[in-house]
């Protein structure tokens, strides 16, 4: 079971990480476009469309990846203090109540939306001769389907947690605030921090 969960995790992660490299492409493309327009006096009419397509694909395809790493923002005022079983129970209910119908509807609607776009061979109308839009619209059902698969995995996780009383493990990934790495970066060791206690404790005692 755990293997299947991690396999889906890996797919989401792989796709999300693949598309996340678009940010580098986006950076270079816009920088080049700015240079080309101001310095070479040669603006490209398709640049705007391509920019927004890159950005849109980037975040849509990273949705499942973010979910698999538990990275979507949640109101954790209460949640963080709940025992794991209660967390899992709440999550399970809300996954079934909100997530599955919502994401399924989105993927389904996106499928029709993109299909229409393919049929009429739709091109962007922001500029004349805009680039084709249908591949971009196809992102919606694909991202929706990935998210749905990841959502099902999360549901299984909730059930496992309900049975075992603790959350099953997730794949390792880079953290926004990785304290150990930051410590290493500025060359601070745990002993140094512990040694500081002397400075914290003494002033208080002298005040008493």
């Amino acid at each position: 079971m755990q293997k299947l969960l991690l396999a889906v995790d890996r797919i989401s992660t792989f796709v999300g990480q693949l598309f996340s490299w678009l940010i580098v492409a986006l950076t270079f493309m816009i920088s080049w476009e700015v240079f080309s327009r101001y310095a070479l006096d040669n603006p490209h009419p398709w640049a705007f469309d391509v920019m927004s397509m890159m950005y849109g694909s980037l975040f849509m395809m990273a949705g499942a990846y973010t979910l698999s790493k538990n990275g979507h923002v949640r109101g954790d005022v209460l949640y963080g203090f709940f025992p794991p079983r209660l967390q899992a129970g709440l999550d399970l209910t809300l996954y079934i109540l909100f997530f599955i119908p919502g994401v399924f509807a989105l993927a389904w609607a996106g499928y029709n939306y993109a299909a229409d776009s393919w049929v009429i061979n739709e091109h962007s109308n922001i500029t004349a001769n805009g680039p084709p839009v249908y591949p971009f619209k196809t992102i919606i059902p694909i991202a929706g389907a990935l998210l749905l698969a990841q959502g099902l995995v999360e549901i299984v996780r909730c059930i496992v947690c309900l049975q075992q009383g603790k959350w099953p493990s997730r794949g390792e990934d880079v953290e926004e605030v990785d304290v150990e790495k930051l410590k290493e970066m500025v060359h601070v060791k745990d002993e140094d921090i512990a040694r500081l206690d002397a400075f914290v404790v003494h002033p208080q005692e002298s005040q008493k």
Binding site: G16, S20, I23, V24, T27, S31, V34, F48, S52, M53, Y55, G56, L58, F59, M60, A62, G63, Y65, T66, L67, G71, H72, V73, R74, G75, D76, V77, L78, Y79, F82, L90, L94, F98, F99, P101, G102, V103, A105, L106, W108, A109, G110, Y113, I139, I140, V174, E176, V177, L182, K183, V186, V188, I193, A194, L196, D197, F199, V200, V201, P203
Partner: protein
């Protein structure tokens, strides 16, 4: 159960109770009331801890379907699906949100360039003579680093590792140290380029450019107030922030500088010049001397460059179509845009140098003030024309204010060089390696946006590019670092943008149900004055800041407040600035302030959360004071946008 749980449960119970009391019985419920019920439910659902984006999406879908069904049951499903996919697509092709991943990427790259250690050390030496210098240096470092990166958690953690030990060792009070770190670390949310302002701009339909121009001075003001508080506290109670001893203040000089300052002159310019001319110092290689002379002359060069460019701009021949000051992106004709780049592009970037390069000198403020004055004059058409005509026949004579500015710059420079000792040169060199790259980058990004040379998206991309260059320059750029930054960027952007997808479906459903009208009529029936409304709105937002994150507050609740603003004649831009300041307060309000938990994670075991919270309180009070100040003097925020975009 813990008290936090009770705290949260109380809020949830209050929301449910309020919904029951305020709403009519089910038989009399209209669609609008359903909308309000939806709002109450979503607050409760968010607090249950499910990922907010999907809570909003699911709930928005259900209620949109209910709204459509009441009009035409046959089409309801199809209409709901259409609504969802169209809303999603509009977020995907949103031209404001596109700068979010770029700014986030820039932030992660800069964070990983690991400038903070150097930055803190050099700021610490540069501010050594000021009372409470370590705390002041902490706040400045936090402000700059947080502005450039925008990642509260990382900044607070890093400063907790660097500044907290330094302050504790120097005998600073635990509370003051904790307060300075947490308050400073949160400044990045307000000072542009911040992601919060982009999110607000995208939600409220306010131009991000104006928001950036508007938030700049309130952000600086807040940082200034923090610093002022620390300095005053250190003066009044030296036991909390003991001054540094002369021994700690001493900057070790390189060998050549020792020789020069002991044999020729203690001051840099006469010292170096004398050493170059005379043959007295055979021991010192010429190269070192010339290099240092060049570094020492940088401030002067910067001033000359700026004044030269200002002169060119002021005396530029009048053209009928030259845009006044700056025009919003895209509206200027191609030719004039180019000309503007040539002038203002150069003008922008060196400007910070003149203002910031003279930290040790008290007269430092004079120079930027003067050059700003000169620039202001340059922007205003028809400024008084007094001075003598200039060589080029078709050039306009420079106004008197330009010459005044030039003279005061020269005086400031002279004073600066009079005080420029070799110790200060060392500090200046350290700043050159840590402070100026960041400050110049931030100001270049902001400047190009605010002066309309580039759209926020373009500036953000250039900023990311700058982040790459910076990381490479500090030899931190490798595949591992790049990978981490790229993946983190994807996750953060997906988090914010999926939240937008959810909230735009949600707010569409809210509008369909007519919940907005009920709130509008209800608020208007209370017959409030604009001031009362403003205070009420700020209190509501402040209270929401406890259980919810700023992203949730902005994307869910701003669409409710914004339509009310025209009734009271409040500028959405001004409202946005107040909201930004207000949400900043939420980051420091116990018991949910994230900053405190990050700091606790890296502080010595005997520093308690309560001490950290207690340290944050005075800074929170300062924030409230700043909100009142901004409210009393809207010009703090609105002066710059009004000047630039009349």
């Amino acid at each position: 159960m813990k008290k936090e749980v009770w705290f949260g449960l109380t809020i949830m119970a209050a929301v449910v109770l309020a919904a029951f009391v305020l709403l009519p019985s089910p038989s009399m419920m209209s669609n609008g009331h359903l909308g309000l019920l939806m709002l109450a439910l979503v607050v409760v659902a968010i607090m249950l801890g499910f990922p907010t984006a999907f809570t909003l999406m699911g709930m928005g879908m259900v209620f949109a379907w209910i709204a459509y069904r009441s009009q035409n049951p046959g089409l309801a499903v199809q209409q709901t699906l259409d609504l969802m996919v169209q809303r999603t697509y509009s977020v995907m092709s949103n031209d404001v949100l596109i700068s979010i991943p770029l700014f986030v990427f820039m932030g992660y790259l800069i964070e990983r360039a690991n400038l903070i250690e150097k930055l803190f050390k050099s700021m610490h030496l540069a501010t050594a003579r000021i009372p409470g210098s370590l705390a002041v240096a902490t706040i400045i470092t936090c402000a700059i680093f947080a502005t450039a990166t925008g990642i509260v958690g990382a900044v607070v953690t890093l400063m907790g590792l660097l500044a907290l030990p330094a302050m504790l060792r120097a005998g600073y009070g635990v509370q003051l140290s904790a307060g300075a770190i947490t308050a400073g670390g949160c400044l990045g949310i307000l000072i542009p380029p911040s992601v919060m302002l982009i999110v607000y701009g995208a939600t409220a339909g306010v131009s991000v450019v104006k928001l950036y121009a508007g938030a700049f001075f309130p952000g600086l003001m807040l940082a200034g107030l923090y610093i002022a508080y620390v300095i005053i506290l250190a003066k009044l109670k030296p036991s909390l922030a003991p001054p540094m001893s002369a021994e700690e203040r001493r900057v070790p000089l390189p060998a050549f500088a020792e020789i020069v300052s002991s044999t020729v002159s203690k001051r840099v310019l006469p010292g170096l010049m004398g050493a170059i001319k005379g043959k007295r110092n055979a021991a010192v290689p010429m190269r070192t001397l010339l290099n240092h002379l060049f570094i020492a002359l940088l401030p002067a060069l910067a001033v000359v460059l700026i004044m030269g460019l200002v002169f060119l701009k002021v005396t530029a021949p009048v053209e009928p179509e030259v845009p006044e000051g700056v025009v919003a992106m895209g509206s200027a004709a191609l030719g004039t845009v180019e000309e503007e780049t040539a002038n203002a592009g150069g003008l922008q970037e060196p400007e910070p140098e003149s203002g910031l390069q003279e930290p040790p000198s008290e007269e430092a403020t004079q120079a930027p003030a003067a050059s700003v004055a000169a620039e202001t004059e340059a922007v205003k058409p028809g400024a008084p024309i007094v001075a003598e005509p200039v060589a080029a026949s078709e050039r306009v004579p420079a106004p008197a204010s330009f010459w005044i500015g030039l003279v005061s710059c020269a005086v400031a420079l002279a004073l600066f060089y009079a005080m420029f000792s070799f110790a200060r040169l060392e500090i200046f060199k350290m700043l050159l390696g840590s402070f100026f790259p960041l400050a110049i980058m931030i100001l270049a990004v902001l400047g190009t946006i605010v002066f309309g040379l580039a759209t926020p998206t373009e500036a953000a991309a250039m900023g990311s590019m700058g982040g790459l260059v910076l990381a490479a320059a500090y030899r931190r750029l490798n595949l591992g670092v790049l990978k981490e930054s790229v993946y983190l960027t994807a996750k953060t952007s997906a988090m914010v943008c999926w939240l937008f997808v959810g909230s735009s479906i949600f707010s569409a459903a809210f509008a369909l149900l007519g919940g907005q009208e009920i709130i509008n009529t209800w608020v208007l029936s209370m017959d409030m004055t604009p001031v009362q409304f403003m205070i009420l709105a700020q209190i509501v937002i402040f209270l929401l800041g406890w259980p919810l994150e700023w992203t949730e507050i902005i994307v869910i609740f701003m669409p409710i407040f914004i339509p009310l603003l025209p009734h009271f004649g409040i500028d959405p831009l001004f409202f946005g600035l107040l909201v930004a300041l207000n949400l900043q307060t939420a980051f420091l309000s116990p018991p949910v302030a994230m900053a405190a938990f990050y700091l606790k994670g890296v502080s010595p075991p005997h520093v308690t959360l309560n001490q950290i919270f207690a340290g944050m309180l005075p800074f929170m009070a300062i924030q409230v004071f700043a909100i009142i100040l901004l409210y009393q003097f809207p010009a703090i925020g609105l002066w710059l946008p009004q000047l630039l975009y009349k």
